[in-house]
Structures are given as C-alpha cells and as structure tokens.
C-alpha cells in the first residue's frame, strides 16, 4: 500500500511545515516477527529506550498486526491483483508514521513479517529489515532444532540482530543503500 500514513498529532505536522526544529531522537525500539498464521515468533528490544512490554501483550500485538496487515489490503481503495504487491508478497501495511513513533513492516514472499518500531526519522530501517531476513535464514532456519513457524529461540539469531543494529546505529544515518 503506497499511502497508509496518518499523523495522529496534527500539531507536530504543522510545526514541520513551519520549519521549526525539534530535537530528533533517533533509535530503533523494537523488532517483532510474525509467522504465516499470525503468531508471534520473536520479539526483541533493539535499544535502551524501548518500552518494556509483557509477553502476553506481545502476543496480542503480533496477532493484531497480522490481522490489520490483511485488513488494510482489503480496505485500501487501490486493490492490487490477488492482493499481492509488486514485490510478490501480500499487500498490506508497510509503514505507520504516528506522532511519536515509526513502524515499518516487511513481508517476505513466504509470508513471514518482520516489523520494526523506531523513533521517527530513524534511517536505514528498510536495510535493517532485509538484513534481519538474511539473519533469519542463516541463523534460525539453519538451526536443526528450529521448527518452522515456532518461536525463534536461537542465540545466534539474537546476537546477530544485536550486532546488526549496533553496526547500523554507529554508522550514522543514510549510509546504507535503500532498496
């Protein structure tokens, strides 16, 4: 879906138009991964400022996002063929830009959704999402004890994700090619 962002706080919107500078906090907040059936298979805070969210709450967030993702494609005024976007994955929510938070979602062609929340203005989120997909294939999928669609409990995966986020945050904004 090409247009799905709504600002919940119109005041901030107006300030931006006037060119007022407000201090930008840049940082990744959370990562969560939803499987094909809508179940949450992974969640992880990516920074210190990520709010603590209980496990049950996480499960609710995962399923809610999965449903909203699907409903958004149905509710969109622009319906794509088979509800598949140009990339070949299911059409649905790609980005939510609210007053104080930015949420970006990437769905793979196999139905897995990687979702990252971050402070508005954080750069390179798309790059991070795609790199996390690669880490998923290398660490989680190649783990012989990992069953598909089950929660990811691979040390290697979590370590690699942490390293990735650290690397991206250190390199500064915009240094990774956006696809």
């Amino acid at each position: 879906i090409e247009y799905s962002t709504l600002s919940y706080n119109p005041i901030i919107h107006k300030n931006k138009n006037k060119g007022t500078n407000h201090p930008k906090k840049m940082g990744f907040l959370h990562l969560f991964v939803v499987n094909k059936s809508g179940g949450l298979i992974h969640h992880r805070p990516l920074g210190d400022r990520a709010p603590t969210i209980g496990t049950n709450e996480w499960l609710r967030i995962g399923s809610t996002f999965h449903s909203l993702h699907a409903i958004a494609a149905e509710a969109s005024p622009l319906r794509l063929l088979g509800n598949k976007n140009a990339y070949g994955a299911d059409d649905g929510i790609e980005e939510i830009n609210a007053g104080g938070i930015l949420l970006k979602s990437f769905q793979t062609r196999t139905g897995v959704k990687f979702v990252i929340t971050a402070d508005p203005g954080t750069a390179d989120i798309d790059y991070v999402l795609r790199e996390i997909y690669v880490l998923y294939t290398d660490c989680a999928l190649k783990d012989p004890f990992y069953e598909l669609e089950m929660p990811i409990r691979c040390e290697l995966f979590t370590q690699a994700v942490d390293l990735l986020v650290e690397r991206v945050e250190k390199s500064g904004a915009g240094s990774f090619k956006q696809r």
């Binding site: 509800n83 990339y87 299911d90 795609r130 690669v134």
Partner: protein, 205 residues
C-alpha cells in the same frame, strides 16, 4: 523472467555463496543413503524418506534464496506463470545452491515442467549395484536397485520450497544417470495454487 537474467543472477549468486567441499558433500550424502538402506526394508520407504528430508530442506531453502538474492541486489521478479517459476528454479536456484545449471522444458498445457540435470553433485563416485549381483539381505527381501531414486532429495526440496510460496506441486524423478540414462530428469507438476489463509477469512465478511 528471461532466461539470461535468471542465469546471470544465478552465476552472480553462486559466486557470493560460501562453498563446501564437493566430495565431502557427495560422500556425506552417500553415507546417508547407505544408512537408510540399512534401516529400511523396502526401496519405496527409502525413496519416501529421502523425499521427506528434501522437503524439510526445501521449506528453509526458499527463504535463504529470496533473502540472499535481495541482499546481493538481484531481486527475483515476481513470476507471472509456471514457466517463469521453472526458469528461476532451474537457472537461479540450482545454480546458487549447487553450482549446476538445469534445462527446463514446459509441458504443453503449462501445468508441469521437466528439469534436466546433466551433472549431479550428489552422485559423485556413486554406482548402484545390479539387482542380481546383491546377495539377499539377512531376513529381508532382495532389493530392486532399479527402483532406488538416489537423488530423490531434490524432489523433496522442490516440493518444500514451492509450497512455501503457495504452489503445491508433486515432483517425481523420471530418469536417473545412475540407472543408466543419459540425463537426470525431474518432473514437477503443479497441483494447486494455495491461497493465504488470512485473505479468505476477511473476504467472507
């Protein structure tokens, strides 16, 4: 996707993948099959087990394929029909993981295709015994080696990976170089295009 684009992506991706020793790979697979032969009595069961193992590999392989081709900047365009899928599988997929390229022939009705492999990395150094030569296994029936589909793993891999992208297929090993034919042929038949669950539920409303 045109043949040359698929082939070019395949070559480029093969260059970027970490490599393993081909002999180690073939010998490991060979010992795996040998173990299966010891464990199971009938050749059909062995073929089935190989296919199941391939299935588990396939469901994981496809994500790696999609993720890594993105990562290296070679997006695989969405396939419009089975022919595109076949090209991608044969030229990009097989080349990326095995370093070999396959030829594809589509069936006239467009619902099936055949993959032709001229070299088989799994079957290096392999020779299958003739049925008459083998002594009867202790307590078991003589095995008909002509029925053994040594590389049935591929069939499972194809079935698993295509299922993850919503194509339910059945794969069969038709000709095998180990059985004396000139080329390895795998026939892939499309059974059903699966619909994702969520879409259907919401359509009901």
């Amino acid at each position: 996707m045109s043949k040359s684009v698929a082939a070019a992506s395949g070559h480029a991706l093969w260059a970027k993948m970490p490599k393993a020793n081909a002999e180690l790979f073939a010998l490991t697979y060979g010992s795996l099959v040998t173990e299966l032969i010891r464990d199971y009595d009938s050749i059909e069961e062995i073929n089935e087990q190989l296919e199941k193992m391939g299935y588990s590999i396939g469901v994981r392989c496809v994500d790696e394929f999609l993720a890594k081709s993105e990562q290296h900047g070679m997006t695989v365009p969405t396939c419009q029909n089975l022919k595109d899928t076949a090209e991608v599988v044969a030229k990009t997929g097989f080349r990326m993981f095995l370093g070999i390229s396959c030829d594809v022939t589509m069936a006239p009705d467009g619902n099936a295709f055949s993959l032709f492999m001229y070299e088989n990395p799994l079957a290096l150094f392999v020779e299958l015994p003739k049925t008459n030569d083998m002594p009867t296994a202790a307590g078991g029936a003589t095995k008909k080696w002509e029925d053994l589909k040594y590389s049935n793993l591929y069939c499972g891999i194809l079935r698993g990976s295509l299922e993850q992208i919503n194509l339910r297929v059945s794969c069969e090993y038709i000709r095998d170089v180990l059985q004396g034919e000139e080329v390895n042929e795998i026939r892939v038949t499309l059974r059903e295009v699966l619909q994702d669950g969520a879409g259907d539920d919401y359509k009901e409303e």
